[in-house]
């Protein structure tokens, strides 16, 4: 089961995604709220919501660091990863990706495993439960990223990720319903893509 999905900016790559120094979560969905501990003191809905947002930002920042370190280790200059032209297909298979663990309590109550993927100046991440099938999580993340690219024109200059929340939601509802990773063979993927296109075309 996936706990959350997020799209965030990657600073350092400079591009038009926003402030060069801040990592920003552009979109996030938490699938079912985490069980919170019974701690003393007042805790209103506002605080719960703030906590949830901060948790996701913490994940985004860690993913960003992991991504930077990986890129550094590869010895390739960051310019390698900047978008060429928006028409050029992006080799998703080669997109840098990785996985790291979040210890219990930091930032989530329970331990989680984060699978991340870098798409030029954007990062996508799945926050999974520990012992999730990581092969499946990784291929699901690649599938989601491909669909986001196709349906949101994620990286082309005129695209507005922030205003296409409904499209992202629709993609997730089809391919990651309630955060459930699905064992989809290619025919299932095609069938779901057809359904998705129909629902987006309306």
């Amino acid at each position: 089961m996936v706990h959350a999905f997020l799209i965030h900016t990657l600073s350092g790559s400079g591009q038009a995604t926003g402030d060069a120094t801040f990592c920003r979560v552009l979109y996030s969905q938490v699938f079912g709220s985490e069980r919170l501990p019974d701690e003393p003191g007042p805790r209103g809905p506002e605080r719960d919501r703030l906590l949830r947002k901060e948790q996701l930002l913490a994940v985004a920042r860690q993913a960003e660091t992991a991504c930077k370190l990986l890129q550094q280790a590869s010895g390739r200059p960051p310019t390698d990863l900047l978008p060429q032209s928006s028409d050029e297909p992006i080799p998703l298979q080669d997109a840098p990706s990785g996985v790291f663990r979040l210890r219990p309590g930091d930032p989530f109550q329970e331990a989680k495993v984060v699978v991340w993927l870098r798409l030029l100046s954007l990062g996508c991440a799945l926050v999974c439960e520990p012992h999730e099938n990581l092969l499946l999580a990784e291929s699901t993340l690649r599938l989601l990223t491909r669909l986001l690219l196709e349906h949101l024109k994620l990286l082309s200059s005129g695209s507005n990720v922030l205003l296409r929340g409904d499209r992202i939601e629709a993609i997730l509802n089809h391919f990651l319903p309630q955060g459930q990773l699905l064992f989809l063979n290619d025919q299932f993927v095609q069938a779901l893509e057809k359904e998705l296109s129909t629902s987006l075309a309306r």
């Binding site: 089961m1 926003g18 969905q29 010895g75 922030l162 205003l163 409904d166 993927v189």
Partner: protein, 838 residues
């Protein structure tokens, strides 16, 4: 519930929000500037008042039942406004209700429903939210609403409500035209969030449904749902049989690896059911309510399908939970068989790997829940292991296979040494660069520490191999490795382990070369392509270096060989490589951890060995920028820890220490360590700590250190020796004084020496090298020590306090307690500050 129930005043064309996406600082500044003009505003900066107006506008649109583009556009913007900030956006209760009814409204396009749900989820947890969904038959909508409810934090038992509603629909006859497949993920989420939602009879019923979906899905393809109009050819839509991933006609039941042009409803459910199977088995198998002889009356009516098509009569008589396990077992076996087929499409090939991993994990789980599966699973997984050993493509599945053997080989009384042997010997050496595998491998080790702590020698002896994962993926694995490192450390491995840690960056460089020489023509090189270490590649081929290289890349612990220095020299061109530097940065952390663990059990002999190793290796480190300094810092503090733990070390290793301190080069190349060693000699070379500490020994050390201090202070400055830090001089002086206080014949010598310091410090050659502050420090210390030595008994008390005196230190930092004592003593001695005046 219609939209017209709400009679809110409709907004009068609120302003158009144009969120500045990307929000660069400049854009944000610009947008704030324009706020007065009301043109474009960043979503985070919208004020409550403006938000209210905007909501009024949406209210107007929704009340008119205008669900067209303008509404969608507004809802998209509203979603952005509420989601872009981490702070709470207050939406009016009535507005929230309006959004809810727009979601329920049968005529709402899916896009509107999705957006309303997303907005409601974003503002959750919300106290204004009351959802009525008992009447809702639309499963897609129910799934959407569940996502809103499950985001509420379960304050009002929402998870339970959702669970019961979904279970009720899954139990009952399927609503006309509705697909249950939207509900299974909801169920899966519910049991994740709240383990005690379902009752036993509900679990039993769901067990039966899962059996139907898993085992008895149609093996004919579905019919295309696109209506072909007048021209559709009924014959063309004749469904064919399901095929395997390699195109062959399926011979057995449907699984996620079965391929068809179109899928039927039960085939979709089959896929969904398998996706949640592991979760469900864990959930339903671990409830404490299990009563083996419970009389399940509803069993005969729940599952007609399985009654009709059940092949095995014996399994039919089992209770549903056992029957589901039986079916899960068959499903997994079929997946293992199917994953051996050659997939026509690449994505299917990837899926085969994921399925294989899942199948093995489920088999392991089944065996843990019911040992009667053991023997069937055992033979199946033995065959699988044989297959996997020859095919690196499926390497990830080796870990769950090994996990199975770890969990069960004892109970099944089988020897699984070969499984571990293959896993720990071959895999890290060949696939250290696969970061996902590396992560899973280390996770696997961490999860099984309790097994390895027992008598699995193969694990412990494989540590040089496992370090390859770390050497290559140091940035991502260091935090994982910290958890498993302590397991490897015992008296027999400590020495080799410390060498391995110190050689870690060198190992990274060696692995890089290994990849370069193994895959010289790789299309997508795994190494840094900007670096061209031709000399290294040539050097590695010659037999002398080859042997060292092989040693460095050894898969198993085999003791330490001396003389990796030539390899350091050879690999020097690689030292600046980013991956090597990243790895070098982790070494001090690991050394610190190593000593924390080792000092818990180390005896005197081992401590001596470690100290000698540190002294020896301090000069034999791979030349990575900043690596030496960082490691020296760590070594220095660890040397002190060792001395404190085993003060006799100074006596027992007197030969080595004399040699180390007698080498003037060490002052400059290893200043940090040198200073610490000299301090340790002064502190611990005393009969208080070891009866074997003779006057002769003290004199010997004294002479060596005196000669050294003489050399650096009297022959200065010289072009051959660079300036040495004033701290070295003060520590040397202090140590000499300490030694003299213990062998009082030496006091005149050291006093004379100290008195000469003034003339030394004032010589023009010195003043050119040392700043005034430095000179001042040296002279103050010399004066203090001289004054102290005027009263030998006080000097001995201050400089070599007995254990009773020194133990209750008045502050925690033991290193600064000496200056404190000195300060106090010098005040007493100098008589400048008269005691009476206090």
């Amino acid at each position: 519930m219609g939209l017209r129930v709400f009679r809110l005043v409709s907004g009068r064309g609120g302003r158009v929000f144009k969120p500045a996406t990307g929000c660069s600082p400049r854009e944000r500044r610009a947008s704030s500037a324009k706020r007065g003009a009301g043109l474009g505003i960043a979503p985070r900066e919208i004020q409550d008042q403006e938000l209210k107006k905007f909501c009024l506008r949406i209210t107007g649109l929704l009340q008119k039942e205008d669900l067209g583009n303008e509404t969608i556009d507004c809802l998209q913007r509203l979603f952005l406004i509420v989601s872009a900030t981490k702070y709470y956006r207050k939406l009016e209760k009535k507005f929230v209700e309006l959004l809810l009814s727009a979601m329920y409204f049968p005529k709402s396009p899916e896009q509107v429903q999705v957006l309303c749900a997303a907005i409601l989820r974003e503002i959750s947890p919300s106290e204004d939210l009351t959802l009525f969904y008992d009447h809702i038959q639309n499963t897609k909508l129910l799934s959407l609403m569940s996502s809103v409810l499950l985001a509420q934090g379960n304050k009002r038992d929402e998870v339970r409500d959702v669970g019961l509603r979904v279970t009720k629909i899954l139990e009952s006859r399927q609503p006309e035209g509705q697909s249950l497949r939207y509900l299974l993920p909801v169920l899966s989420k519910v049991i994740t969030l709240s383990p005690k939602v379902l009752k036993e009879d509900q679990i039993n019923l769901l067990n039966k449904r899962l059996i139907d979906w898993l085992r008895y899905a149609s093996i004919q393809q579905g019919v295309a749902q696109i209506s072909g109009g007048f021209f559709s050819n009924p014959r063309a839509r004749q469904p064919g049989p399901i095929t395997e991933v390699d195109g062959a006609v399926a011979t057995d039941f449907f699984t996620v690896l079965s391929v068809g042009q179109h899928y039927t409803e039960d085939q979709w459910l089959n896929m969904q059911a398998f996706s949640m199977l592991r979760k469900w088995l864990l959930y339903s198998g671990n409830d404490g309510t299990e009563t083996p002889d419970s009389d399940d009356k509803s069993e005969l009516e729940g599952s007609i399908m399985s009654m009709v098509s059940a092949t095995s009569t014996s399994s039919r008589l089992l209770p549903p939970k056992e029957r589901l396990r039986e079916n899960a077992f068959e499903y997994c076996q079929r997946l293992i068989e199917q994953s051996n087929r050659r997939a026509l499409k690449k994505p299917d090939c990837e899926l085969q790997k994921a399925c294989l991993v899942e199948a093995v994990i489920i088999l392991d789980l089944l065996c843990r829940q019911d040992s009667s599966f053991m023997y069937r699973t055992l033979s199946c997984l033995k065959t699988l292991h044989g297959r996997l050993c020859g095919d690196l493509a499926y390497v990830q599945a080796l870990l769950p296979v090994a996990q199975f053997f770890l969990n069960h080989s004892e109970a099944a009384a089988v020897d699984s040494e070969a499984v571990y042997q293959h896993l720990f010997t071959n895999i890290p050496s060949e696939l250290f660069y696969n970061s996902m595998l590396a992560f899973e491998f280390i996770q696997f080790c961490r999860d099984n520490i309790h097994f390895f702590n027992g008598n699995l020698s193969i694990f412990k002896s494989s540590f040089p191999n496992l370090f390859k994962f770390l050497a290559w993926n140091s940035a991502s694995l260091i935090s994982e490795f910290v958890d498993i490192l302590p397991v490897f450390i015992d008296a027999s491995t400590a020495i080799e382990m410390l060498h391995v840690l110190l050689d870690l960056p060198c190992l990274t460089a060696a692995l890089d070369l290994y990849l370069r020489s193994s895959f010289p023509t790789a299309e997508k090189p795994l190494w840094d392509p900007s670096l061209k270490p031709t000399s290294c590649l040539d050097g590695v081929r010659d037999p002398y270096h080859q042997a060292l290289f092989q040693y460095l890349l050894r898969p198993k612990a085999k003791g330490f060989i001396k003389g990796l220095a030539p390899l350091h020299e050879l690999l020097k061109p690689m030292a600046g490589c980013a991956r090597v530097i990243q790895c070098a940065e982790t070494v001090p952390i690991l050394i610190q951890l190593f000593f924390t663990v080792v000092t818990e059990f180390a005896d005197g002999t081992l401590i001596n060995q470690l100290a000698v190793l540190l002294l020896g290796r301090s000069g034999l480190l791979f030349d990575v920028p900043q690596f030496k300094a960082a490691v020296h810092r760590e070594m220095s503090s660890q040397l002190l820890v060792l001395c404190k733990l085993h003060p006799s070390l100074v006596v027992e290793l007197s030969k080595e220490l004399l040699e180390f301190t007698g080498t003037i080069r060490n002052i400059h190349s290893k200043e940090n360590i040198f200073t610490h060693v000299v301090w340790a000699i002064g502190e611990y070379l005393s009969v208080l700590y070891d009866r074997r500490c003779t006057v002769e020994l003290i004199n010997k050390f004294f002479e060596t250190l005196e000669a050294l201090l003489f050399e650096i202070t009297q022959f200065r400055p010289s072009a051959t020796l660079p300036k040495c830090c004033p701290r070295v001089i003060t520590v040397l002086m202090t140590t000499l004084t300490k030694l003299a206080s213990r062998s009082q014949d030496l006091i005149p010598r050291v006093s004379l020496f100290l008195s000469k310091m003034r003339s030394f410090a004032q010589s023009p050659a010195m003043t050119s090298v040392y700043s005034e502050e430095d000179t001042e420090t040296i002279l103050t210390r010399a004066t203090e020590l001289m004054n102290l030595l005027k009263m030998p008994s006080v000097a001995q008390f201050v400089l070599t306090p007995s254990v009773e005196v020194s133990n209750p230190r008045y502050h925690l930092d033991t290193n600064t307690s000496l200056p404190l004592a000195l300060q106090m003593a010098s005040r007493l001695v100098e008589k400048e500050a008269s005691l009476l005046s206090w």
